[in-house]
């Protein structure tokens, strides 16, 4: 079965959008990622990824509320689409599958063997 490529960072953004559940707009996504990974993505990188995700059909956007802090400009909220959902699940399955097939890998067993 064919699935569109999902880059690492894109996957991260998509996951975050899923987590934020309807509250996912630019600044919020940025902050959440920073909190979770410890690194703050630049606004350019983030919106680039968002644009790509939208083009691939994994997210949809709609305009939302404007606030004074934004100088009266509206926010753009993103939500995951069905395709986006599917893409995340597939990715997780792939990773898990591979992970499980590595013999002896687990958090308890961190000794280096024969490398």
């Amino acid at each position: 079965m064919k699935h569109t490529q999902l880059g690492a960072f894109e996957e991260l953004v998509l996951l975050t959008i899923g987590v934020l559940q309807g509250d996912a707009y630019g600044v919020a996504i940025k902050k959440e990622i920073a909190e979770q990974t410890g690194r703050m993505p630049s606004i350019g990188a983030l919106h680039s990824a968002l644009s790509r995700l939208e083009k691939k059909g994994f997210i949809d956007s709609h305009e939302g509320g404007a606030t004074k802090e934004r100088g009266g400009r509206r926010k753009r909220y993103y939500v995951m689409t069905g395709a986006g959902n599917k893409a995340l699940v597939l990715s997780k399955e792939l990773r898990n599958g591979l992970f499980d097939r590595i013999p002896g890998i687990s958090l308890d067993n961190l000794s280096i063997r024969g490398i």
């Binding site: 630019g26 600044v27 630049s42 606004i43 350019g44 919106h47 680039s48 802090e69 400009r73 509206r74």
Partner: protein, 872 residues
């Protein structure tokens, strides 16, 4: 939330952002950035917040946010390439007539440029083959006289060696002198006209390749001789010429062939076929001094930069090696080799040296550019006027979704296609026209010269610029059509567009007018010069050169010649009358020291005046008794008498000194032209042939009659009296005509370019007229039905164009007038601008125009209206 008003983020960053960002993203992104900014103001302070904001602006500058990404359409262009090619080709084929006109016009313009480039490239390449090109200089003399400075290439024999041994910056010096030789070989006599005497340092300075023998030794032995391969073949066939001997006919010298040097390349200002060592002729090297100045001198500098420094020290050098008097009027200059060929028009030069004028480079360049301009104008005119035909296509394409840049590229591409075809045709035209062009410019250019990389790049550049220039405007116009208006059929010419087109036609014809008048002016001036009274009779006169051996037999020879019934008179002199060049000092021998004058002078015998039908204004001629002395006698011309302040009778009997020769003035002769008509007649002195060396030419005046027979008779006498020298002659009137070769050349050039310009302009007019007629077919049909007569229709159609021609004419005349006046003033004797020429120019213009538009308008006027209106 603080209630104070925090400062705004940096305005310039925001402006920059809004400039690059696409509208659909801008609002949202800026909102995000503002939100973060205010948060950061709270957390980290204004400065950090502002800095972060700027970083955000630059961070967001990525492809997803950019306005109007070009990439997709670029990729689209590539895919559309074959389609555009097909459509463009079809368009050309469907309108073969217009296509031919366009292609032909451009081809002619390009061919002109091609040929002109060949010429310029050749001219500029002169002497470039010498390895030490930038270090070689030619020494020129400057004589300060009361009439101004005289610049000459003639230098004395002292200066080159003196420079070499005085200044360390001058590595080597070399003297040369062109000459002729008579060689006797295997019993036959040969005249070699291209002999060059040169110092042994010749090959150290100049890079002429020595094919056999040693360059450094070739000119050491005074009796050696160096040949070029054709001459080696001529005298020795396939045998090795080194070590063999050639014999002189004039004296009994034997010359040993020491080397063979390659043939002089075409682009060399020096030309020779034989080299002889300079010191081979004792008289040339024996007295080292500042006079006489008969030679050309060159020097090799250690580096190009020292030229001015050395030049500046020359006045002191002259003073040191001569006296104050000499140093006061004599000076030397060092002319870099690169200036020798093209920038020596101010110098009086030796005949054997090739020289041209940088002006020709400019003129031919300018003319070719003009022609190309006219051709481009044609293209623009024709294509834009036909744009209406393509309007539907443009409208439809836009409806389907073509962008303006795409359409622009499509039409520009069509121009390039035409230009490519035109270039191919241009190459053919250039090839065919090359012989004529070579004759016109007196060069031997070949298309092979084209293949040099520098030249090729230049031509490519011109080709591209011309195509883009010509194609720009039509492409703009065409891509601008609005689909709605086009498809509804409600569009017309923009008034601005027609005005431009009319302006272009006018300028084409202004250029043509100037060229026509220019051609007429040159023609008339030349005719005037050639038919102007010279002051002596040049018809039926032969010039026979005389050398040392001939002089031994000279009196018998002259006697026998005069006895010949066909000969009216024969005379001995130094130079032929059109080439009297000797510069002498002249002053009156009185008690008080009066200043002298510079005059031209030569020696003649008592028959000179009669042979040339010169008149004595006062006094008397030489007689056979005093023709060869003893003692000097002088004849001066009216100009000199006037210059000395004497009237005719006063001059007689005056004691004068001509450059050391003292004697009396015997007579005054009428002024006659002894140099080119471009200069006024100067002061002239004729003195008697006391000195043997002055007898260098025999002038023989024959009666009008059978030339061939006369020549035969003269030849017989010559061969009997002076068998060592082949009979060789020149007709005086032909020699004169050759002086005006340059002007002839100018005339031909003017005519050729005028003709070309006219042709192309006419071509353009033809195309335009055809198109107009096509446009107005329906209108003409209706008019005919209403009852218009054929003449009235003709008038209607041509009226517009005739008006334009008229304007062009009116504008062109003053311009032509100014330009002609300036050119004519370069001649001492010239015609004045004749206003009847305007009529000639006008009639030519009208004729051409009528021919161009006539055919189409006639056809339209006589066509059957039914045909025109059938599809209504």
């Amino acid at each position: 939330m603080s209630t104070s008003n925090p400062p705004n983020p940096p305005m310039w960053a925001e402006r920059f952002f809004l400039w690059y960002c696409k509208d659909s993203e801008a609002d949202m992104l800026l909102g995000d950035m503002y939100e973060m900014y205010y948060e950061r103001v709270e957390e980290k302070g204004v400065k950090k917040a502002r800095w972060r904001f700027i970083r955000d602006v630059f961070s967001a500058c990525r492809p997803f946010a950019w306005k109007h990404v070009q990439l997709p359409s670029y990729l689209n262009e590539l895919a559309m390439f074959s389609h555009y090619l097909k459509i463009g080709w079809r368009n050309l084929m469907h309108h073969k007539g217009f296509s031919t006109i366009n292609i032909l016009g451009l081809a002619l313009g390009l061919a002109c440029c091609l040929l002109m480039f060949l010429y310029v490239q050749f001219e500029l390449s002169f002497d470039g083959f010498h390895d030490k090109y930038d270090r070689i200089v030619r020494v020129t003399s400057v004589f300060h006289t009361d009439a101004g400075d005289q610049n000459l290439t003639y230098t004395p024999n002292i200066i080159a060696p003196l420079l070499a041994r005085t200044y360390p910056e001058v590595e080597k010096g070399c003297r040369v002198m062109p000459s002729k030789m008579l060689i006797s070989h295997n019993g036959m006599s040969f005249k070699e006209n291209h002999v060059l005497y040169a110092d042994s340092t010749f090959f150290d300075i100049f890079s002429f390749k020595v094919l056999k023998g040693s360059p450094s030794q070739a000119l050491k032995d005074p009796s050696s001789i160096v040949l070029t391969p054709p001459l080696a073949k001529k005298y020795f066939g396939v045998e090795d010429p080194i070590g063999k001997f050639l014999y002189s006919s004039t004296d009994s010298n034997a010359y040993r062939v020491s080397a063979v040097v390659e043939q002089v390349p075409r682009n060399s200002h020096m030309h020779f076929e034989i080299l002889r060592p300079f010191h081979g002729e004792k008289w040339m090297v024996s007295n080292e001094g500042f006079f006489p100045a008969n030679y050309q001198s060159y020097a090799l500098l250690s580096e190009a930069g020292v030229r001015e420094k050395v030049e500046g020290q020359l006045p002191d050098l002259i003073l040191k090696h001569s006296d104050e008097e000499t140093a006061s009027f004599l000076d030397f200059q060092l002319q870099p080799l690169e200036a020798v060929y093209l920038r020596s028009t101010h110098l009086e030069q030796e005949e054997g040296i090739r020289v041209s004028d940088i002006q020709y480079v400019y003129i031919l360049g300018g003319l070719a550019f003009l022609i190309l301009l006219i051709a481009c104008i044609n293209y623009i005119n024709l294509t834009t006027s036909r744009s209406i035909d393509r309007a539907k296509e443009v409208g439809l394409r836009k409806v389907i979704g073509a962008q303006r840049p795409q359409l622009f590229n499509q039409f520009l591409g069509e121009t390039v296609m035409v230009a490519v075809l035109a270039s191919a045709l241009a190459l053919i035209i250039a090839y065919l026209g090359l012989p004529y062009f070579n004759e016109l410019t007196q060069r031997e250019l070949t298309l092979g010269d084209l293949l040099r990389p520098a030249f090729f790049k230049l031509f490519l550049g011109v080709f591209l610029s011309a195509s883009i220039l010509a194609g720009l405007y039509p492409a703009l116009i065409l891509s601008n059509f609005q689909p709605i208006r086009v498809l509804k059929g409600r569009f017309g010419h923009s008034s601005g567009g027609t005005l431009l087109r009319k302006g272009l036609v006018v300028s084409q014809f202004v250029i043509s007018t100037c060229l026509i008048i220019g051609a007429i002016v040159v023609q008339q001036q030349l005719h005037y010069i050639q038919s102007r009274k010279l002051g002596f009779d040049k018809e039926h006169t032969l010039i026979l050169p005389v050398d040392g051996k001939v002089r031994q037999n000279l009196s018998t020879l002259t006697q026998r010649l005069e006895q010949n019934p066909q000969v009216k008179s024969a005379s001995v002199c130094t130079n032929p009358p059109h080439l009297i060049k000797g510069g002498y000092d002249f002053k009156e021998n009185t008690v008080e020291e009066k200043p002298g004058k510079s005059v031209t002078a030569m020696a003649v015998d008592h028959n000179f005046l009669e042979t040339l039908s010169l008149k004595l204004v006062a006094g008397r001629n030489f007689t056979p008794a005093n023709s060869e002395g003893p003692g000097y006698a002088f004849l001066i011309n009216e100009k000199l008498a006037e210059g000395m302040g004497w009237d005719e009778t006063e001059a007689l009997g005056k004691e004068v000194d001509l450059h050391g020769r003292e004697g009396k003035v015997l007579g005054v002769i009428n002024d006659f032209h002894f140099a080119s008509m471009e200069e006024t007649i100067g002061p002239l002195v004729l003195y008697n042939t006391v000195e043997d060396w002055t007898k260098q030419q025999l002038l023989v005046k024959v009666l009008p009659g059978d030339v061939a027979l006369q020549l035969q008779g003269l030849r017989n006498i010559w061969d009997e009296e002076v068998p060592h020298r082949p009979f060789e002659y020149q007709f005086l009137d032909q020699a004169f005509a050759r002086m005006y070769e340059t002007q002839e050349k100018n005339r031909k050039i003017a005519y050729t370019f005028a003709g070309l310009a006219l042709f192309i302009a006419a071509l353009g007019l033809f195309g335009l007229a055809s198109h107009t007629v096509m446009q107005r077919t329906k209108e003409i049909g209706i008019r005919k039905i209403i009852g218009a007569s054929i003449p009235s229709i003709l008038l209607l159609l041509s009226k517009e164009y005739l008006k334009l021609i008229g304007i062009a004419f009116v504008l062109g005349i003053p311009l032509a007038f100014v330009l002609s006046q300036r050119w004519l003033e370069g001649f001492a004797y010239h015609i004045s601008f004749n206003w009847t020429w305007m009529l000639v120019a006008l009639s030519v213009l009208l004729l051409i125009s009528i021919l161009s538009i006539g055919y189409q308008t006639m056809r339209a006027a006589t066509s059957n209206p039914v045909e025109a209106l059938k599809y209504e």
